[in-house]
Amino acid sequence: MKFTIDGLEISAEQDDTIMDASRRAEVFIPGLCYSSSTEPTHSCRLCMVEVEEKNSLRLVAACAYKVKENLKVVTTTERVSKVRKTILKHLYSMAPENPAIMELMNLYKIEKAPIIKEKKSHCILCGRCVKACEKLGISAISTVNRGVTKEINTPYGKPAEYCMGCGSCSEVCPTKCITIKDNEEGRTIWHKHFEWARCEKCGVIVTTKEHFANSNPNNTPVVCPVCKRRYMTDVFADTFGE
């Protein structure tokens, strides 16, 4: 399937959204909640573009709109840049001076709006962390409350029973606002403390004990990738001769 973004022809697969195809073709459309590895949440609305339908232009979210044959997408109209500007200003007020948002503000040359209220966290409530946790089959976190008090947290704000401290939520967070404290002893995330699983051979930190136990068969020896490779080399050498 072929379609165009600002006159540039791009190919797309069946069921691709505009965002899927454009990211694959390395045509940049901004988007903070979009990630090819998690389910879409369509929450940041930063990827608004216009598509030509029945000879008129319509505003759609690129991460939600499925590509059709010969679709015409435009991202440079005044309407798009106006909407993008408004959304970025809102996001800025949610996460003032956040590097990810500042980068986009600078890119589109948008002036900073005055900060009305100091925020505790730079969370923009995109829900990417929730989807990532869900995808891993853990679902330790979710959105709590609603309206201005809405936040991402564990049930009752207590250590989540199933959290394994893998840090995927923090990894996918676009504003990097999930507090994760790592030191020599272990990791603290979502009010819970985890001990490190260290490599039996060289003592390097592999991951948390819970995460290792969850992602490996029972009684797997904890070995870091480097030692594993070295160990496997020995096995191969033994099997096939030097």
């Binding site: 869900e134 853990i138 679902s139 330790a140 976190i141 979710s142 959105t143 709590v144 409350n145 609603r146 564990t154 049930p155 009752y156 989540a160 029973e161 199933y162």
Partner: protein, 156 residues
């Protein structure tokens, strides 16, 4: 009033084990126990086989669901525009004084909760006070106390 409460299992068994019944179950539990306790939350999550965080998210989202125990009688004082103009604040003051609690609180004996709502669509009979399912319109000074007293009597 004093009939025994149904157990959580008895409530759960009346619903099929499917995700789409989660809100209906939460409402039923709220009605029976006046709140969603951590144990009940867990029981619902086990029964429906959905993560506890999902149920928790839902329980904190809806205003009609509560994580803290609500009173047997929930008194809602309407403070919509029409009620506000016709003196709902003095009605509210009266209820507060009679129950000795603020809005959003529950009396220590667990009998009354006080809430402010933003319009119940009965502006013609402003100011309006709702006590559980009963609507009282054109509430004059002194009327709120009567409502509370009749509730207390009903329990005795």
């Amino acid at each position: 009033m004093n009939d025994k409460k149904r157990s959580i299992e008895e409530i759960l068994i009346t619903f099929p084990s499917a995700k789409r019944f989660s809100l209906a179950i939460l409402q039923e539990v709220q009605k029976e126990y006046k709140y969603i306790s951590p144990d009940n939350l867990k029981a619902i999550s086990n029964y429906l086989a959905i993560p506890i965080s999902d149920i928790f998210s839902m329980a904190t989202y809806y205003k009609s669901l509560s994580l803290e125990k609500k009173g047997e009688f929930i008194i809602k004082v309407c403070d919509g525009t029409a009620c506000h103009i016709r003196g709902s604040l003095s009605v509210l003051d009266e209820v507060k004084r009679a129950l000795n609690i603020n809005e959003g609180e529950t009396t220590p004996d667990g009998l009354f909760s006080l809430e402010i709502v933003n319009c119940v669509g009965a502006c013609a009979m402003a100011p309006v006070v709702i006590c559980n399912q009963d609507y009282f319109g054109n509430v004059k000074l002194g009327k709120a106390k009567e409502i509370i007293n009749s509730c207390v009597k009903a329990v005795d």
